[in-house]
Amino acid sequence: GRRRRMKRTAPRSTLRKIIKQHKPALRLAANADLLYESFLIFYFFPLLKVHLNFLLFLHRLAEEARTSAFENKSKIIKPEHTIAAAKVIKHFKY
């Protein structure tokens, strides 16, 4: 409907910086000498998949928070529902 469409560009440099902050030695496939196609595969694509994973994480968190809100007969998602959701999904821990 009238709802604004979700902006869907991946914040690639931010994603890279975040991972760098946690793991300075870890590189996300970067080798500028490669041919364009290989360059894309190694340099660009892993970050897109990180972005995909992040979207999936937020989707799961939102779904669980929604479930928690329904269980508590709330029509609005509150912080406690999200905290409960985070405990359920354990940040994708296994």
Binding site: I19, K20, Q21, P46, N53, I77, P79
Partner: protein
Amino acid sequence: TQLLRAKPVPKRLGAPRRKKSEPHIASGLIKMIFSHYARMPVTRDTFKIVEKCSQRYFKQLSDDLEAYSSHARRKTVEMADLELLMRRQGLVTDKMPLHVLIERYLPLEYRKLLIPVAMSGNKVFPCE
């Protein structure tokens, strides 16, 4: 002269320099994505929790990616590491292949990039 005096001082000069903070996903983006998936109203305080969860998620993600690539004796994260990760997270299964997730979640321009090239990539890089 009144016009001259009324001229506003350029803001940037007076504004204090932004502190270099830890990198994080823009809160507006998190808010937009979360409320898109929530499909119901979300209180303002909730987004703070979501941001905190996101930070923890990235910490966990970095740990996992490091573990996966170092297990393969690499210092570089490759596509395959992320696929393996998503399999371990239970997101990619035999019934839910990665390309379906890509089609569902990523915009067309990224889909176009990831799907056809990833397939030809298999030939170029047998290590995958």
